[in-house]
Every structure is written in structure tokens, then in C-alpha cells.
């Protein structure tokens, strides 16, 4: 069974600084998807960024980028120019194919300090 591990329960960053959240996963599949989701307090989970395993280029969405290391099964999220609104739980997730349930890590709580 696939597993997703987030080894940092909590992280903090100063406003305008950069922070990296770590994620590792385990799978025997060669084709899959990886995601970072953001869950603000008492609000719905929203997609931050998505990576397809067959793509070598790291995904980027504005201030958010990933470092995808397929051989190492590592998928970290970098948030640049951190803003107060970035404070939330961040979940790393794995999906085998386009119509399968996602497997989530335990999450990392990010605090942004003004």
C-alpha cells in the first residue's frame, strides 16, 4: 500500500521569507500524481500545486514550487515570500491514477510570523 510521510508536524516562517515543507512517499508504481493541499483553520481543503510523476520539470504556481525527486521518492514544497494568509495545515498527497482516492500524509502546520 502507498504511504505518505510528512516528518515536520509544525513549521514557522517569518513574513516575506522562504520555507520548505518536506514529504516522502512510498510506491511501486511508475506513473502517479503528487499534490500539496492547504487547509486553513475550519475551512475547506484547496489544491496548492500538482505534479505528474512522468514530468521531470518541477511544478510551479506563483510563489509555490516543488522539488520532485522521483528516485528518492521525495516531494517538497517551497513557499517564497511567505504571507500571513499562508498560515494553514499543509497536506502532501499521492494518487495512483486519475480516478483513485488520494492518500494523505499527517500534515504540517505552518505558522507565519509578522
Amino acid at each position: 500500500a502507498q504511504t505518505v510521510t510528512q516528518s515536520q508536524p509544525e513549521m514557522s516562517v517569518q513574513e516575506a521569507e522562504t520555507v520548505t515543507l518536506s514529504c516522502t512517499y512510498d510506491t511501486s508504481e511508475s506513473d502517479y500524481y503528487l499534490f500539496w493541499y492547504k487547509q486553513p483553520p475550519s475551512r475547506q481543503m484547496i489544491l496548492v500545486i500538482r505534479q505528474e510523476a512522468y514530468k521531470q520539470q518541477n511544478a510551479t504556481e506563483n510563489r509555490f514550487s516543488v522539488n520532485f525527486q522521483k528516485a528518492a521518492k521525495s516531494f517538497s514544497l517551497k513557499i517564497s515570500d511567505s504571507q500571513l494568509g499562508d498560515a494553514a495545515m499543509y497536506f502532501c498527497a499521492y494518487g495512483h491514477s486519475g480516478n483513485t482516492p488520494l492518500v494523505f500524509g499527517k500534515g504540517t502546520r505552518l505558522s507565519v510570523i509578522a
Partner: protein, 116 residues
């Protein structure tokens, strides 16, 4: 476009009572998921529907949990009788059917259950 709708947002019950949660997915989304998120943990899949059929319910505690999606649109998750350990947020998510899918799930705001 309307998102995934869930109700109620909050529910407090005594142990051994029953509770039901409702979910209406994004219009046209064939696949619907129920996840359980216990405080401090990531979401865990309970059940996946494709249209009105069950694809995966291997992690659903069937002695007390049931779910249905009779017309392939909205869905109901029921817990009867509830236990203290069922206290959690119940998340509903949907995605387009196979062939239209980027793998992304679209989540509702969740239903927070407290069992006393």
C-alpha cells in the same frame, strides 16, 4: 461553479446515538469520496463511489457506518451507533470521471462531529 456542499457543518451527539451527513458534489462529477479526518491527522478514505456504485469501501467500519449515493449525485453517510472515537471531521470530495481527471479532488468544508 458551485463547489462541494456538505451539511450539517457541526454536530454534537451522545455516544450510541445516530447521525447522518449529506454531500452534494460538483455538478457533473461522477466520483464521490468520503474521508474521515481525526484531529491532528490527515484525511483517511472511508468510501469511494463512481456514479451510484461503490468502488472502494474497504476502510469503512461497516458494523456502524453506512453510505449511499442512490441517484449518482448526492450522498449520505450515516453512523449508528456512534462511538467516542468517531469524533472527527467528515470530508466529502468529488472529481470528474475517468478520462477527464487530473487526479485533483475538490473538497467540501466538512462536517465536524463531536461524540460525548
Amino acid at each position: 461553479e458551485a463547489g462541494v456542499a456538505q451539511s450539517p457543518r457541526y454536530k454534537i451527539i451522545e455516544k450510541r446515538q445516530s447521525v447522518a451527513f449529506w454531500c452534494n458534489p460538483i455538478s457533473g462529477h461522477a466520483t464521490l469520496y468520503w474521508y474521515q479526518q481525526i484531529l491532528g491527522q490527515g484525511p483517511k478514505l472511508l468510501i469511494q463511489f463512481q456514479n451510484n456504485g461503490v468502488v472502494d469501501d474497504s476502510q469503512l467500519p461497516k458494523d456502524r457506518f453506512s453510505a449511499e449515493r442512490l441517484k449518482g449525485v448526492d450522498s449520505t453517510l450515516k453512523i449508528q451507533p456512534a462511538k467516542l472515537e468517531d469524533s472527527a471531521v467528515y470530508l466529502c470530495a468529488s472529481s470528474p470521471g475517468a478520462g477527464l481527471n487530473t487526479g485533483e479532488l475538490f473538497f467540501g468544508e466538512g462536517s465536524r462531529l463531536t461524540v460525548l
